[in-house]
Amino acid sequence: MSLGTSLGPFKTLSRLQRLGVWVTLGRRRAGDAWAVYSRNRLAVFGLALLALFILMAIAHPILLKTVWPKRIYDPVVGHDLKIFPHPSPPSPAHLLGTDTLGRDVLSILLAATTPTLLMALTAALTTALVGTLAAAVSAYFGGLADGFISHLADLSLLAPAPLVMVVVGFMLDISPLEFGVIYGVLAGIGGVMIVLRSHALTVMTRPFVDAARVAGAGPLHIISRHLVPHMLPLASVNMMLTVTGAVFANGFVAFLGLSRAQLNWGSMIYDSFTYQAVNAAITWNVLIPSAMAISFFAMAFYFIARGLHDVADPRQAERLANVRRRRRLSEPAPGKARSAVSVPVKAPTQVASQAEHARAIYQGPPSPDVLPAALPAGSVTAGSSPMGATLAWDDHLKPGEVVTVSFLSAKLWVIGGASEDWAASPGAEKALPGLGSLFIRLGGAVQAMHDGKVMVVFGLYPGRAPFQVGALLATHAGLELYELVARQNERRAVAGLPSLAAGAGIATGYAEVYAIRSGSGGEMDQPGCSLRSPALEIAWHLQRFTSAVASGTLLISQETYRYLESARTQFIFGRQGPAQFPGIEGVQTVYQVTGRRQRLHATLS
């Protein structure tokens, strides 16, 4: 619909056009709703079950008219003289056999569908009607009306609808329709109204209600045009939920043998139990179909209610996103070929001082064939990062395990004198105070620090773990790194020193853990791990690119961008473009992050 371009500001739509818009919007909305609903497989199953029951209800009169002779197949007085004795097991003539009185079980089963269906639908509609109206009036008028209706609801919670209906059905002979109406009123004014009222109260606080009021709308208009439409989804959920209770109450009354209704699944069970003494056997062919029918009938409505609940939930969009995220998580990892290649174990020449750093150490280059040869021979420990605790060898990570990580690969160039070259000095903290603590604060673990390059991993977890956390933290860390460098550069400018250049690239993906045993002289006291991953390589390439060409911009990989999803609003994105990485198949899109709108929550600092 390109209405915006074709219409002038003062032109109104004709009635037909308005209808067109309405239909288009309605169709789109229905499509969206169906997309959410159909995601719940059980809900679709419930809908199929309901369709089956409707089909059963329709089929019975047709079958009686065409195929089944009424004398034999009538659900109440039919009897098959050809078979003896009754009850008989299933046979071609009687697909579910016959009961003790010689009636066809399938015929009774089908005939009982119509009243139950009628009762259920009546109960559902009455519940929705009564509940919605009561809740709307209560929420709109408040005060006395609200107090009255709320207390009425409390009252009916003391006398639960199913229980009352069992008692009522026990004493009075009422038709399925009446049963449905009474049940609907009781349930609607009770629990359903309570749920709907609290929802209506939140609707009443929305600005459009105030707008309607200012425009001079009366109660009738606001309730019918604004309040009720917003309550309908939730009302439909609850009306479906109440059916379960109604079906059970109805069936239970019949099961106790108190209802005079002949056509009821509950009375089929009752008959079966009653004639058990006569037959001295359990008539499973009567019991199972009727009990299954009543249970599946209730289940169908329950499943549909769950599906509608998904649709009505204001968090549906979020849930949809979650589903997509989860699906992606369960995708096979890009580099999951878990080969049994033995990684050449290299004893690092410089083992980080001693046992106090034993935890949270990632030593050595990830793997010689992934990283450029310029990578360090020595390494710097990460210190006690909060997340570092999970990195320890004996805690979670096992060699050969696939973990999910987000890599931040950063490089700081130091232009200046040797004393300023932090890479030359053993402790990085000296030259750039706070760099190490920056990553640690954000939950990253410094994997390697050498020659002005830093590899940091975020969100490192074995098994099923959120990429989102790692991607989010690494992106924040990258931006903080730039801020840090910018602050440094200001100070350096005052002092007349040349400014630093920084570049960071972020990639997200699975990595495989390889064991590196270190130690000397036969002492294997310092176990460590190494990571290997295509994502690592992408991060490295991105970092090289940004530090060489586009200094001061943060580049993130396609995967990282995807995993940021719900957190994307925290950042400002710049350009994006395709990139081809050596050793990685296909063209990938690279995104630029230029700044952030929102800081990570203060709890992290």
Binding site: P162, S295, H601
Partner: protein, 388 residues
């Protein structure tokens, strides 16, 4: 907080009063005939008139209502109708049947709640998959299975085929004993409540002083051990154990019927919290997965489950009544059908009162629980006075 609960209690009592008054009039105007015409059909018309006079059924309805209220104010629920004029007092009947219901209802609800929560938590944490679908489908299938059918299946397989559970013959077995079964059941119910609250309070104190917390399963285990152990200390061990065996079948049936809804709601709300910011923060802080799941995600998912339980409680009670009726468990439910069938008005009123009080108490308990778990509610309640 206390004021809020007090207000809630008072409004609850007023509602309860209106409720029983309504029941009183509804029962006697809507239902056809009265006790004498429905039950004492063999009497001659003169005898019938005499019986009506004895039972007070000849008085006008308003008069009878006022009489009943007057007695109620003095704590007297009257006597059941009987052909001899008046039967056992209603309070006696309630004392004999309430413990049986409370034992199964309380214990069953607790088990169903804990089991449903645990199952929902696990299902949500695992994410979509075959196991989760199976759990969900199974829970809903049990929840929506027709109670008499489920009870029949349980009886058929557990009692008749496997002989695991003794058939329900509570009255027959325990009748000649020195204790009445209802007295033992009362002790059992109180013991369970006492031990559970004692251990929970101890756990809270332990946390306050030592920053230690017992894991959930340990508390449950301790409650069970202390509960069962205390029977033997009180000298009712064998009888109580017997009663528990008898109660196993109704307990199992009721629990299986009830836990499904709790599981489904828990799973849905928990799945929503999994991607909430505070869960991500907890993960990012490096907390172990178990702590993130139990302390951060599950805690917050618990609230909607409890508020749903408040609304669902009457339905659970209905399921309980159905199970009792089918299994002949000597509880409130079976007495209710007995009373309604004969239009035994005093008994019916007494039972309605008890059902009202039980559901009121359960709702009040859930209100307190909700307020304890949700700090927002405590402060909001001060202002609005109504939680729902």
């Amino acid at each position: 907080m206390l004021r809020y609960l007090l207000r809630r209690l008072i409004s609850g009592i007023i509602v309860l009063f209106v409720f029983i008054s309504l029941v009183f009039f509804a029962v006697q105007t809507i239902l056809p005939g009265d006790y004498v015409s429905q039950f004492a059909m063999s009497l001659s018309s003169k005898e019938a008139a005499e019986l009506r006079r004895q039972l007070g059924l000849d008085l006008p309805l308003g008069q009878r209502y006022l009489d009943w209220l007057g007695k109620l104010a003095r704590g007297d629920l009257g006597r059941s109708y009987s052909l001899r004029g008046s039967g056992p007092t209603v309070i006696e009947t309630i004392r004999a049947t309430l413990p049986a219901t409370l034992l199964v209802f309380g214990l069953g609800t607790a088990i169903a709640f804990l089991f449903g929560l645990w199952l929902g938590k696990v299902a949500a944490w695992r994410g979509p998959g075959l196991l989760t679908s199976t759990i969900t489908f199974g829970s809903i299938a049990l929840y929506t299975s027709f109670p008499p059918w489920l009870v029949f299946l349980l009886t058929y397989f557990l009692v008749q085929k496997l002989g695991l559970v003794p058939p329900h013959s509570l009255q027959a077995r325990v009748r000649e004993l020195e204790f009445l079964p209802e007295d033992i059941m009362t002790q059992m119910v109180f013991g369970l409540v006492a031990w559970a609250s004692l251990l929970l309070i101890a756990n809270a104190l332990l946390y306050r002083w030592r920053r230690l917390r017992l894991p959930g399963w340990a508390i449950i285990l301790l409650v069970v051990v202390c509960w069962v152990g205390s029977w033997w200390l009180a000298g009712i061990g064998v009888y109580a154990w017997n009663i528990l065996l008898q109660a196993a079948l109704p307990l199992l049936a009721y629990t299986l019927l009830s836990f499904g809804e709790i599981m489904v709601i828990m799973r849905t709300t928990m799945a929503d919290t999994l991607y909430d910011d505070y869960v991500q923060t907890a993960r990012a802080k490096g907390l172990p997965e178990r702590v993130v799941r139990d302390r951060h995600a599950a805690r917050n998912a618990l609230l909607p489950v409890i508020s749903r339980l408040v609304i669902n409680l009457p339905y659970l009670l209905t399921g309980m009544v159905m199970v009792e009726e089918v299994l002949d468990w000597p509880g409130l439910g079976s007495s209710l059908f007995f009373a309604v069938g004969m239009q035994n008005v005093p008994l019916m009123m007494g039972l309605a009162l008890v059902i009202g009080v039980v559901s009121l108490a359960a709702r009040l308990f859930l209100d307190i629980l909700q307020a304890l778990l949700d700090p927002r509610l405590r402060s909001r309640a001060e202002f609005s006075g109504r939680a729902l």
